[in-house]
Symmetry: C2
Subunit: 404 residues, 2 copies
């Protein structure tokens, strides 16, 4: 991509994000829904200005979701999150098991080989924590107890998804796995979160004091970004996910006395990169592969709808595992619905190992698309029903700061 | 580059920029000198964490210099710039002609073919407006009359450089050029600046009123970035340079009543991207090709020093073309000294068309390196001598806003 093409893509991303985000909000929907639809308009299904497969665009969108999870972590109270830890873990485990079993069963019923059925099931497992967190934040409900369960469950489920991905990639490539190998993968993925939070909680206040003492211009701005990027990097290196790393960085800094200040410092950078992530999600959706008037595509359209149904029922049902009486289980279940990049990564593993055909890849993409686009309006209805005073009046620190 | 490698590169860039920028400032030098040296430390000559040839890193550094020139444009008074227009044009023309003639003569004396000598001369022509503007801004002297001459001359000289580049690329590739073709190139390159400023001055206030009326959250932030990127894109498309486009965008917005507000809005984004440009300049410098203990490298080291001498003398002499008595001609000449990316682009054209050997490329790189590293301390000495009250006490709006 030339510098000119890059500038044009950025302009398309920002115009699409602001324009469609604003329209969504005026229709009472979360801005993120508009940003994804704006992405469809400027992406491969529309004007073709934003190429989601371009390496630089991909890296910038990753930076967007890394900063999003950092900001979400910064406004998350670790104690509160831990207090719903058992509910979150239960929701995550059931919310992985049910869609996995359902997807694999559907694949089996349709007569696909076992490994293909397993891949279809796996692609239904991981909630896109980015989309869910952003919707809750857009609606001003990030601090609700239900939201905390969803956030915790989405993080746990992301880690489970990574473990599954490692296992399935190995199997799909024809490799063998034994119990010690699986246990090691699980141990590293979960161990990182614990070590990052424990060690980070020790180091973060010292880092902040150091920055204060050497009195760098904009020291806090650069130090907190470096901290978030570094934890994201380490997370990926040890076999966890970048967004788990930046979320941990946010959680840790949230416990220092500089949390509010850091939130202000990185606000503009977050606002620059986060819309790139959501527009790129939309830009990657190829609607043409799902043309109902194309007889060849019709079968995969139906399989995609089947996967979507299994995916929705599985996650919503998982919400009902929670035993606490004061929580609205349906909100939790719907909050877990959106699949995102992780679902597509499973499908891509299938595509590259020739286990999935282009048609089945499109079916998975349809499931990702529908669960992603249905969640924002559904969650909004549920949350507005809960607080009739109007959640839209709440001011969200991160995403809706007024321009003056 | 993987997401992990990208994050590590960003961490290296920010740590190097802040650390060495701070050290430079405490030694009384402009921060930009520290950022370039920091780049050498983390780049190809040092730790190898930042690969200046990586496509994504290159695009982000371009975004940095585009935003830098936008910010510089925003704090530039078009009328004041125009009032020194004749001096600036004279400095630019002489400052291109002298180094070009000197470099070509040096190449001829050393027995190189004509086209090689022409390429060496051409690589000496273009001042890096980014480095110069940043040094003047770091030192708080951007509004001096001398600085306005330098800024205007650097912009004109960048356009002349582009025209030269088009002509030489055509010749180097074995193509032929006639007078109408050359006139067309010159016309487009200069025409863009005029059209952008005239049309932009008409459109900008209307754009700002529109943004205000539809009342977007952070509308000014996104609108001004989109405006700058769009003009940069158009500039490149019509055959001018991206930085000329964003500089014109800044000049135009500077004349609206929102200039100060826009400067505040884009401040953090500029602070994020601008250091990437300067660290990458340092990271690209390969000191190993100039090892004086390597007999093979010694000849090119001497040629590089010769080019440096010609480059410095040519630009400094050009400063003395100015006839206004109240201006310090030496400040103007030294301000025009730093060569940057454009010099290297000429050398790369030579490398790719096999006209320049690796050794001659390194000689040009040495010239770029020395003129770039010598300018900040030299300018500082000259400017401090001019205002003994201490320019470091001035507060620079853009680059040194305190963190609290």
């Amino acid at each position: 991509m030339s510098v000119g093409g890059f500038l044009l893509a950025l302009v398309a991303i920002f115009v699409a994000a602001k324009l469609f985000g604003e329209i969504a909000e005026r229709l009472g929907q979360p801005a993120v829904l508009g940003e994804i639809i704006g992405g469809i308009v400027v992406g491969v299904s529309g004007l073709g200005l934003v190429d989601a497969r371009d390496h630089t665009i991909h890296l910038l969108s990753e930076l967007g979701v890394i900063l999003l999870l950092f900001v979400i972590g910064l406004s998350t109270d670790l104690k509160k999150l831990m207090s719903v830890g058992d509910s979150a873990t239960a929701v995550a485990v059931v919310g992985v098991a049910l869609p996995f079993a359902g997807g694999a069963a559907l694949g089996h019923l349709l007569g696909f080989p076992t490994m293909v059925a397993v891949l279809l099931g796996a692609s239904l497992t991981a909630t896109s924590v980015g989309i869910t967190a952003r919707v809750l934040s857009d609606l001003g409900h990030l601090q609700d107890d239900e939201s905390q369960v969803v956030l915790g469950a989405a993080v746990v489920d992301d880690v489970i998804g990574l473990v599954l991905l490692t296992i399935i990639s190995t199997l799909a490539a024809g490799g063998a796995l034994n119990t010690p190998a699986i246990l090691r993968i699980v141990g590293v993925a979960f161990g990182f979160v614990i070590v990052a939070i424990v060690l980070g909680s020790y180091l973060a206040p010292r880092l902040l004091r150091l920055v204060e003492r050497i009195d760098l211009a904009r020291g806090l701005f650069f130090a907190s970004m470096v901290f978030a990027f570094l934890l994201a990097y380490i997370a990926q290196r040890v076999g966890s996910a970048v967004i788990i790393g930046s979320f941990a960085a946010g959680l840790v800094l949230a416990r220092t006395n500089k949390a509010k200040e850091i939130e202000k410092e990185i606000h503009d950078i977050a606002q620059f990169f986060i819309p790139i992530f959501f527009v790129v999600i939309g830009a990657a959706l190829d609607l043409r592969t799902l043309n109902p008037f194309d007889p060849g595509a019709r079968r995969f359209l139906l399989i995609g709808l089947g996967l979507t149904a299994v995916g929705i029922v599985g996650k919503v049902a998982a919400g009902f595992i929670v035993t606490r009486k004061d929580l609205r289980k349906i909100v939790i279940g719907v909050g877990m619905m959106p699949r995102g990049e992780v679902g597509l990564i499973f499908a891509q593993v299938g595509l590259s190992t020739k286990l999935l055909s282009d048609g089945l890849y499109s079916a998975v993409a349809l499931m990702v698309m529908l669960t992603t686009l249905l969640t924002p309006p559904l969650l909004r209805r549920l949350l507005i029903a809960k607080t009739p005073s109007g959640p839209l009046d709440e001011v969200d620190l991160v995403f809706d700061a007024p321009s003056d």
